[in-house]
Amino acid sequence: MAYNEPGAAQDAGAEKSQSCPGSTGGQATSRQSWAARVIGFTGGGRWLIYLSMALSVLSSACTFVPFVAVYLVVADVIAVYPDFSALDAARMAGFGWMAVAGVVANIGLYLAALLCAHSAAFDAEYHLKLQIVEHLARVPLGRLEALGTGRVGKIMDESVGAIEGYLAHSLPDTAAAFTAPVAIVVLLFVFDWRFGLAAVACVVAAFGVEAAGFSNKAITEKMRRHLVNQERMSNATVEYVRGMPVVKTFGQTAESFGRLSEAVRAYTDLALDVALFWQSLMPAFTAIINNAYLFILPVGIALGAGLDGESFRAFALDFIFYLLFVPSIAGALNKMMYISEDSMIITAQLARIDEVLGIEPVPAPRAGEARVPERYDVELDDVCFSYGAAGEGSAGEKDGAPAGPLALDHVSLAVPAGTTLAIVGPSGAGKSTVASLVARFWDVDAGAVRIGGVDVRDIDPDDLMGCMSLVFQDVHLFRASLLENIRMARPDATREEVVEAARAAQADAFIRALPQGYDTVFGSAGVHLSGGEAQRVSIARAILADRPIVVLDEATAFSDPENEHLIQLAFERLMAGKTVIMIAHRLSTVVGADQIAVVDGGRVAERGRHEGLLAARGAYARMWARYTQALSWGIESNASNDKEVA
């Protein structure tokens, strides 16, 4: 009598979502290294994992105790057969207790193993997440932006979660699964070796069937494509949902739906294809391990044929024992089925974690060699940079030939201390790249960026950040009070200083209007700030920080002129007396700058003050003409075609 073991029983609650039945495993050769790596994540809790595996093996060994007890009962029964009144009741009771003790030990040890493993696994999850976050604090920010915070979040959630699940369940189960074959071999020597060999033959046949599947090249390839399809469907879903408001405005829901349904269909078809590949092999495996007695039976018939009297009695005992024992092989072997699947999942997840942990940190100057700038002028000296090279190679690869198109092509700029440089130019010309290089989000491919004559690469990254304030286009506010959000620029600032900075940044008024004023927690129910308001908070941050260099990336667009005016006022306060590099998206803000650089195609096309550049009648003069023209934007000319909203 046997049943289908419900597959999910191996792990209550853990989702092996999307996993295909009997999916193929990774190479045995690489298994050692990744298993070691996963265990390595537990750090100090490593011994807990080993302990858990040991307990799990012991527990698994105890599963055979009830069988032994049953065997002993059968032995006694056959010894007295057919006079059962001669049975020793106390001995029988002893065997009963033995069976119960085996059960208790089996389960108790497994419980202990699970708790050890979980304790280590949860700890590993905790530390791994922190390790990733800490690593993120040291990598070039450009690399992080290229990777995308959404992807990092997904890795944190899914991949680290998979590592936890592997440590908590798969490792102890793997250890336990190997106990069964060992037990079979041991029994081979204790009992009749011929029956033992028959049992081994059953195991070999079962695994032969499985191996036939694993060795199939086509299915390995399909499994790989299956994972790709899964990712594609996932992306298509995100895009479908996120883009729905836009898609609806363009009346394209049918096309958008078509793209998603195509991805869903491709995923399902291949998933079924992979699943149905196993439709004969898996049932064959099931059929063999549940009919293990068929391997014992012919051996028994052949051996028993020539025996009589006492020799048959001894033989009968062995025969019956094996008939009782072999069905238990099924349960033990079922566990082994999942080992290869687990290993494949975990290898893929490790690779994703390495996408983050593999990013080289910003190379920091060696201790003692770090220099601290004493002046705060900023200089770009013949700088070349391309995103392609930075994106593909390691961050340290700065002397190699740049791979992608140059974002900056031999750019030289000098900003004397206390002056303002405004960078203007068409979109994509490389304006923001200049700011990124000064803040060392990326390292230059050639040339140098210097502050006070010191190469930024020779400054300790923390000191570098300490001498500049950065104001970005897209502002991130934290789930904390606005007070805390501003104060993070200078944690020792008093409340008065924070309010003073907010006032200077034109943020005081709207903050006071919030339900709890400065103590309003951003992100809490009903608390939303417009883009302009959020940027004013970040300007307040920068004013409070009061650092000698200011790098600011003006926002591309604002919804209303009122906001723009307030931000202009805030900028003026922030920039007073500082060395400023301003990425200007609107020409109105650059008129008073000490220096304007027109960047186009990664080169500095023109440089000078507003009046001088106008007189030169070059690129800047043309931009200015277009800008002033756009200001009086032709309602007349476009009236028939445009509906201006907001």
Partner: protein, 500 residues
């Protein structure tokens, strides 16, 4: 998706389509059949025992007759194989096809929902619905539910047969089952509370983590790497401790239940040998029960550990059902040509949260065709809201917006939106080529038309600079474009639309 109260409980709990429910029932039947087929090896083993015992008594009968049993066993193996193959096919095909149908159904439903739905709901939760919830149901359907139900059925069948055969030993085998069940069910309340706390802790930790990752640039700029990570560390620590607590509670409960359950082995041995020495059962019966008792608990243990999951199934699929039952956009009127008529706001009132602060309090004005209306005012005054109402991103709480005298609320949403071009401030781009992103504005536009629109929105210069020109893929939300470039490409979409 069925919503009537007459729907079978399992179908409702799993939020299955009628087709999926039929498939699931067939899968359960197939699994049950396999379980029953698996009794063939058991029955034959018992018969072998019988033959061995016969010879022990000196009855030399027909030892060679065992070869007949072997042949029957071989046939049994083939039967088991065929049954297993059948249930394998049924469970997987049903699970995958049902998942596909659900995904398609939800996606189809989503596109019929009103704009306001997308503007008021957390989009990541919707995505989670379509991916996560459906996936976990898929694995439940392929590897848990059919096998569990089948195990319950076949265990009951075995139980009944054994009781008929020798009720005292059958009682020994199954007497521990109610106690074990009781333990699992009693612990459920406590576990559920823990689960809820764990879910809350997980969400909190995840929010803290994302807050930190998304703000890492600002954190580094402010040199707050250590300080700002404190709340995140605390949240992760809380989650870790709570997860351990949940694990402890669940594992101890399942272990206790399993121990109690398997104590049946000992009881069967005690009582069995007692009955045997008393001559009340014969040795073959005892052997049969010993064989049963050594195997019967595996599947029941699986049921026990899955029980809490199964019982909370309906909670898991609640989000799926809620989404499927979300009312679709009202209105079916054809809006063709209405864009050329005047648009009138009549006493429009609107608040974002339904009943709170009104953003628009009785706005009325008319926009004549072919004219430009500029909305000006301080931030938060409701300018964008008016625009969004006209585009039907939201519906007015009261009052009406009419085009050519027809209330927008009565129009088919997509039909109306064909009259409107919108240039967004926050731009969503799709992971596709530049060309396709622009063509979005009007499917079926020729390459020439797309290029013309792109030229009109001044996209050409920067697109030409891209590595693969118009064939360059933009990546998620146009990761490779600067902000101004994004907006411009967007307005190109409006251009391709050539809306009135």
């Amino acid at each position: 998706m069925a919503a009537t109260s007459k729907t079978p409980r399992i179908q409702r709990a799993l939020a299955l389509t009628d087709e999926g429910y039929r498939g699931l029932r067939r899968a359960i039947a197939a699994c049950t059949l396999t379980n029953l087929a698996l009794m063939v090896p058991f029955a034959l083993t018992v018969m072998v025992f019988g033959a061995v015992l016969m010879r022990l008594t000196g009855d030399e009968a027909d030892w060679g007759g065992l070869w007949g049993l072997f042949a029957a066993g071989a046939v049994g193996l083939v039967v088991v194989f065929l049954c297993a193959r059948n249930d394998y096919r049924r469970t997987y095909v049903t699970a995958y096809r049902e998942t596909e149908a659900t995904r398609m159904g939800l996606a189809e439903h989503l596109r019929r929902l009103p704009m306001s739905f997308f503007n008021q709901r957390d989009l990541s939760e919707l995505t989670e619905n379509l991916m996560g919830d459906v996936s976990s149901r898929e694995s439940l359907m392929s590897s848990t539910v059919p096998q569990l139900v089948a195990s319950c059925v076949s265990t009951a069948v075995v139980c009944a047969m054994l009781a008929f055969f020798e009720w005292r030993l059958a009682l020994c085998v199954f007497v521990t089952l109610p106690v074990a069940l009781g333990i699992v069910l009693a612990a459920r309340q406590h576990e559920r509370r823990l689960f809820e706390r764990q879910t809350k802790a997980r969400l909190a930790a995840s929010a803290q983590l994302m807050d930190y990752i998304e703000g890492i640039r600002d954190i580094r700029a402010c040199r707050q790497v250590g300080a700002r990570s404190k709340p995140m560390r605390a949240a992760l620590g809380t989650l870790r401790d709570l997860a351990m607590k949940v694990e402890l509670a669940v594992d101890v409960c399942v272990s206790a239940a399993t121990t109690v359950l398997q104590a049946g082995v000992g009881i069967t041995v005690f009582v069995g040998t007692m009955l045997l020495s008393g001559g009340e059962v014969d040795v073959l019966t005892l052997l049969m029960f010993l064989l049963i008792v050594s195997r019967v608990y595996g599947p029941i243990t699986s049921i026990l550990s899955q029980l809490p999951n199964l019982l909370s199934l309906s909670g898991r699929t609640a989000r799926l059902r809620a989404l499927a039952e979300e009312p679709v956009a009202a209105g079916s009127g054809d809006a063709a040509g209405l864009g050329e008529r005047s648009i009138e706001l009549r006493d429009v009132r609107f608040s974002y949260d339904g009943n709170g602060d009104e953003v628009l309090c009785g706005v009325s004005f008319t926009m004549e065709p072919g004219t430009v209306t500029a909305l000006v005012g301080p931030s938060g005054s409701g300018k964008s809201t008016v625009a969004k109402l006209v585009a039907r991103f939201f519906s007015p709480s009261s009052g009406a917006i009419c085009a050519g005298g027809v209330d927008l609320a009565g129009l088919d949403e997509e039909s109306w939106l064909r009259n409107v071009s919108v240039v967004f401030q926050d731009v969503t781009l799709f992971d596709d080529t530049v060309m396709e992103n622009i063509r979005m504005g009007r499917a079926g536009a020729s390459d020439e038309e797309v290029l013309a629109a792109a030229r009109a929105a001044h996209c050409e210069e920067f697109v030409d600079r891209m590595p693969e020109g118009w064939g360059t893929r933009l990546g998620e939300n146009g990761a490779r474009l600067s902000g101004g470039e994004r907006v411009r490409r967007r307005s190109t979409c409006g251009g391709v639309r050539a809306a009135r």
